[in-house]
Amino acid sequence: MRFPDDYMGEMGTSKTLDQEIELLLAGTPIEGGRLSDLAPVLGVIRTQWTPAPPEADIAHFARSAASAVKMNQSPATAATTLQRRLAVPRLGLTPRLATVALTILLMSGTAGMAMAADSAAPGDALYGLDRAFEAVGIGSGSTEERLDEAVALAAQGHSGEALEHAIQGLRRDTGDSSEAAVTALTTAAQSLVETQDTADAATAASIRVTVLLTYVAENIGIDEGTDGREFGQGVAQLARDIGEGDDPTGAQDPVVAPAPGSGQSNNPGPGAGNEADEADDGAVPGNGNENSQNNGNSQNNGNSQNDERGDGQGSDPPVESPSVTAPGRVNDAPEDSPSATAPGKGNKP
């Protein structure tokens, strides 16, 4: 009695139907249209599936959001500026300064959220986050325990929270390896924000975050000499990989990063081992890489937040272009060559 799917082959007919649909969806269906008996059904769907949120939830969320915004405010502005600068190959500011600003941003965000989420109850606006933190027993334990918790969080898919949790733990330590790790994890967090535009990229990034955190958890505390430098380079490399958005299975193998103590140090920078140098180690090979976080992921994987603001209308938003994401490039990702990432993929300004 109805029409088969391909009935709409003719342009004129589709156009009429499109107009009817717009009226139907606007709540003013035309009488006797082809879809007019759907009108009450749409009404039911809307009524049933869009409940007004309880006033208590609204108030709760408003408080949490307002305080989160206030806590983020000043560092956020700084970080946005810094992110823009970092996207340019020639760094306008030292990596260390950028790291400090970004870390402050991340920390304040986490602390605020954790506090706000702490008192959330099921059904509350913050309950989901609350449970994410609870699941790992936030707020207690040594740095090592924190890192293990972060790995667990990452494995559950909470990549952003995992990185923040790890950074928070590491910031309490003073060793060079901790500082190198904080630098790398901050880079990772930044890349993460920019790579989650497609499901595949998000999955790839999530796996890479888990790999990175596992590496940090297993090797943290190696502060001295060659091994310390290798740790700094390894962790920086793994962090940069997150921005690459391709084959996560390659990165899954921890040997991608040289294991400290394996004796394969091939880049002993003078004076490596203090914080500034570790930060440089992260940044120098990344001259192309920092950039590639923005444009290395084919299509529009980079920088979604920026893409969306301003236009938001029909231009290239990010979500779901499965055919252009990771799988196609799986085979040409060199698994065992940590230094080979940038040139091939980051060159599409």
Binding site: M8, I21, T47, P51, G128
Partner: protein, 192 residues
């Protein structure tokens, strides 16, 4: 042809601008209005698209919005799109985390259906069951489009923006989807 309900008048734009600025300044009232406006549709969209815990995902979505609000710049329409882009991404993340393809609809408890009298509720329930069956016959992209348009109450352009499709593709998907829905539903038996 313009429809009366989809165009946005200027005063509203100004309202939104004021609200957005206040939200960026951390004003509670602005966040309350944003949440009141959009949380219901976001939760509904997530639930309709098979989120296991739509309320949790809604919380995460709005927290992310609060965290990233300083990076947003644009009008109300762009804002709605942005919110649904984040919700959509969260949804996909959570599906991945569960490592299996979701059912199109999990209608175990659609939001408690807080509507009127018993009779009407019975009607709603019946329709819901039928809807589930009908929706399950649609393609993923038809479901995405219809959920954003019907439940999310987004415009054609906003929907296209959220899904990364062209407007023409959204039109085609909603045509096919709605025709199929109407075909699969025995509407005579359900709605008077």
């Amino acid at each position: 042809m313009s429809s009366p309900h989809t165009s946005i008048a200027n005063p509203r734009d100004q309202d939104f601008e004021t609200r957005l600025r206040a939200a960026k300044d951390g004003a509670e009232w602005a966040w309350a209005e944003i949440y009141r406006d959009l949380a219901g549709t976001v939760t509904g969209y997530l639930a309709n698209r098979g989120a296991a815990e739509p309320e949790d995902l809604t919380s995460e979505t709005f927290l992310q919005i609060a965290r990233n609000i300083s990076t947003f710049d644009g009008g109300e329409s762009a804002f709605r799109s942005w919110v649904f882009v984040i919700a959509h991404r969260r949804l996909i993340d959570s599906r991945r985390a569960r490592q299996r393809r979701p059912e199109t609809l999990t209608l175990s408890d659609p939001m408690g259906g807080a509507v009127g009298d018993v009779e009407e509720e019975a009607l709603n329930r019946l329709t819901t069951v039928e809807l589930q069956a009908a929706f399950e016959k649609l393609s993923e992209s038809q479901c995405d489009v219809l959920a954003l348009r019907i439940i999310g109450q987004l415009t054609l352009e906003e929907t296209a923006s959220v899904l990364g499709k062209r407007v023409g593709a959204v039109k085609a998907a909603q045509r096919r989807g709605l025709l199929a829905l109407s075909q699969h539903l025995d509407l005579d038996g359900v709605t008077r």
